[in-house]
Each structure stands twice: as C-alpha cells, then as structure tokens.
C-alpha cells in the first residue's frame, strides 16, 4: 500500500540509520583499537563509581523529592496544550475572531492553572 | 586591661576558683591567667558575659606539651580572648591537665565560643587533650584510625625514610635506622 505520502519519511529513516551509524562507528573503531593495541584493563578500583576520590558509599539510586514531579505535571499539561495550539496556529490566519477567542479562552483556562500553581507555591523549588 | 583586676573580679564572681597569674618573661609582656580545671568553665563564662570585660571572641586555642615539667609533665591549653565590642585583648588564659597519660581531661569552651570547636578538636587530635563537653570531639587533621598524638614532644615519626640523598643529623639517624631495620628484615628489595 505504498502511497505516495510515505516517501517523505524515507530520507528521515535513512538519516536516522546514518546517525546511529555515525554514533556507533567511532565506538566500534575505539573498540577495535582497544582489541588490537591498547587493551582495556578494568579493575575493581578503576571501574568503581567515582566520588571525588573516595570510595563511593551508598547507592545513588535513591528516592528523590517530590518537587521534581510537580514541575513535570505542569510541563505535561502545557505540552498537551501545545498539541492543541499547533493546529490552531496553522489554521489561525483563516479563522474568525470567534474561533480565536475560543482559543483564548482555552489558553486562559490553562493560564489559570498556572496562576493557581503559582499562588499555591507549587513553582517554588525547595 | 589590668590582669590583677581581672583576677580579683573573677575571684569575686566565681567563688572558690583558684587563679594564678603566669608571668611572661619576654618583652611582649603578655602575662596569662592559669585557671583550675574545676572552675574554668564558670570563669570563662564570666569572662565572656561580664559587661566590662565582654570577651566575646575567642581567637586562638593552643595546645602545649610540657613533658619534662613537674614530674610526669602536663599538657596545657592556652586561649587568647578578645573583645569585639570593647576592642581590647588579648587576655590569655591557660589550663593544665593533671598528667600526660590518663588524666588528660579539660573542660571544653566550645559551648561558650564556637570558634574553639575546631581548635579544640585539633588539640585533641595532636596532643590528646580530652575536652569534656565538646559536642563533636573527633580527630580533625589525622585520620580516624590514627593512634598517636603527633605534636607531643615524644612522638616518634613513622619509619618511612628509605631514600635520603641529603641526609644528616636527625634525618640521617632515622634513615640509618630504617636501613638497619631493612637489613634485618632481609633487605628492602
């Protein structure tokens, strides 16, 4: 069912494959170099986690504060808003004032969420 | 600041304390006040809080080792006190431990002057004076498992002088001792 439409993605696919190749080929070269000339020598100290010259104590994978999450929520909401704004923006020049106002209301709704979060001191990093 | 007057003031304020003026022979003329262990904290508190003296700033804490004095010797801690308000000083006060082995306890002045915190830890680390009432008395300069008190006069350096191309005097002696030890142990190679 190759419709004409799909052709446009082909170069992108090739670009992506090439990009992966671009990243992997030097790594492969480096690997070959290490095989041929400069052997890798892992060791318990060398491959230990770096922590300012000391032996690392405790795990790094710990539970973080919830503050990060609040920002992520606000971001998610506005990211979704962008999804609605984009088609609107494309169609904007052909739209009536009423449609624009409809979008303004939409934006204001979300802005209200922002203002609420602002006033609730959600956007305060502790 | 007249030391005699300070002494009498203290004696009036802290009954029972035994003070002694230690005369300094050098041209600097900085005579000092020797406090007894039992009343030292009270005296220090008086020195800090007395509105006339108002020695709110403890500048310097020094440990001194006197191994040869008075039989078994003693450790001494010297405080230099100033006033940021009256802008006078230094008032030198000193305390002595009983001996250098076991009875090495002295009252800590850290609760009075935070600035003594690290310095007292240092004296503890390097001289082995134990400060009672210090909130966090750990070694500060040497590592935790270290056992000696290196600033004492009778401290013996670790034996790590293998290579000493320009050795002489005490250094040479140590290096020689080292090589002798190595020969006994079958050579260092």
């Amino acid at each position: 069912m190759h419709s004409v439409d799909l052709d446009i993605y082909r170069p992108i696919a090739i670009l992506m494959i090439a990009a992966v190749g671009f990243a992997i080929s030097p790594l492969a070269m480096a690997w070959l170099w290490s095989k041929k000339f400069s052997p890798r020598k892992p060791g318990p100290v060398k491959n230990a986690t770096y922590e300012c010259g000391l032996a690392s104590q405790g795990d790094a994978w710990i539970q973080f504060r919830a503050e990060y999450y609040l920002y992520a929520i606000v971001f998610l909401i506005f990211d979704v808003e962008a999804i609605f704004l984009l088609p609107f923006a494309v169609a904007f020049s052909g739209l009536t004032l009423g449609a624009a106002i409809a979008m303004l209301v939409f934006i204001l709704l979300l802005a209200e969420g922002l203002v609420w979060a602002w006033q609730k001191r959600v956007l305060v990093w502790v | 600041m007249n030391l005699e007057k300070v002494k009498s003031d203290i004696e009036a304020a802290v009954p029972g304390c035994r003070l002694q003026i230690v005369v300094n022979g050098s041209p600097s003329g900085q005579h000092s006040l020797l406090l007894d262990r039992e009343h030292a904290f009270a005296v220090a508190k008086f020195l800090r809080d007395d509105p006339e003296l108002c020695l709110d700033y403890c500048s310097n804490v020094t440990g001194v080792d006197w191994p040869d004095t008075e039989g078994s010797g003693y450790l001494e801690v010297v405080y230099h006190l100033y006033s940021t308000v009256k802008k006078h000083g230094p008032l030198t006060v000193r305390m002595r431990t009983e001996d250098r082995k076991d009875a090495v306890n002295l009252p800590s002045f850290t609760p009075l002057w935070r600035s003594a915190e690290f310095q007292e830890r240092e004296v503890f680390d390097l001289y082995g004076v134990v400060f009672d009432g210090h909130p966090d008395l750990r070694r500060i300069l040497m590592w935790d498992g270290f056992e000696d008190h290196p600033m004492r006069k009778d401290y013996v350096d670790p034996d790590d002088y293998e290579y000493e191309p320009t050795a002489h005097d005490a250094v040479l002696k140590r290096a020689l001792e080292h090589s002798n030890r190595d020969e006994k142990a079958g050579g260092c190679q």
Binding site: P39, K41 | L141, M142, P165, L176
Partner: protein
Amino acid sequence: MDQKLKIELSQQGIFATTLEEVYNWGRKNSVWPLTFGLACCAIEMIATTMARYDLARFGAEVFRPSPRQADLMIVAGTVTKKMAPQVVRLYNQMPEPKYVIAMGACAISGGPFKQGYNVLKGIDRYIPVDVHIPGCPPRPEALIDAFMTLQKKIDAQHLTGDLRPRHLRADTSSEFVVPQYGAHDLEPAKNPKLWNITLKATPTEPRAGENEPGKS
C-alpha cells in the same frame, strides 16, 4: 622521532608507522589535565592556565573535573598521607593512556615538608610519574616546560614492539595499590613494584669520608 626509530618502525610496515605517528600526535596534542590541585603548586598551575601563560595554546586548557575524561594528572602540591589513597584512587580511575606530572618539590619527594609525619615522601611511591618538575612552586613557565617534556615523551613512545609503554601491554595492570590508613602510617607505606630503588640511600656512617650519598 629519531632516525633509528624510523628505520625500526619501517620494518613493521608503513601502516604501523603512520598509525603510530597519528596516535602519538593526537595524544600529545590533546592532553586534558584533571582538575586536581593539592596545595601551593595548584595556584601556579591555575596561573599557567590563565591569560599570561595560557596552557590552552597547547590544547590543554580542557581541565576535566572527572578522572574519566582526563589524560593527565598534575600532582600539584603536597600529598599528605591522608590524601594519598585518594590520589591513587583518582589515578586508578583515569582511563589509559594516562600521564602524571609531579609538580613541585612536595609532589616529587615531600619537599620542604618531608620531615612531617603526615607527608608522603614523594607520590612516586604509589603511582608512576612521567615528568618531575622541581621548584617550590615551579614557575608557570616551568610547568609549560614540563608539559612539553611530556609531549616529547609521548612522541617517543612506540605503538608496537617490546618497547611499547605500559598502557599498551596486556600483561600490566593499570591499577595500583590504594594504600589504607593504618594506626601510625599508611599501609603499605609504598608500592614495592614501583618504588624499588637500588640505591644505597644513605651513607653507612655519618660523615664518613668519601662515601657518596645518592650514588651507588
């Protein structure tokens, strides 16, 4: 590269020669030091990277704070016994090829502080040092000079053959013993694999006539 070396290399084939040249050229011109200052010398090391002396001209201003990305450890200052394990660990954590410049008297031998109980008498008791710069502290120019000495040293290294440097050999470890804190001293007090001088260190007798210290 001297002539003899070239001939020797040409026997290994022109490819290897070119490869070696490119390899050494790349390594010597892209030496990224570790951001690692210990004491007084560190200030002169910083001064070397500053406007007047500008180590950047050699492509070496990329001071990497993480040992994983650094090539050169400039031991700039006194290594105390309390610090020595950390220095060795950092060196171990650097990827090969890695170089060490012992900058200043303290790093080489303990320097003026070597009589101290907490001072390591030379970092080469634990890690191999490529270039020593005497001085207390060495002038920034001296560090640049040492840097160029290191570049020359890198340039003279072989990629193949028996003379190749340590990091190209599979049989040598790139890790060195990290000393532990002991009750009186570090344990071990030296890395015997590195610190095995065959010199008779001291005169057998004090002030004994013609006996020469420092020479065997």
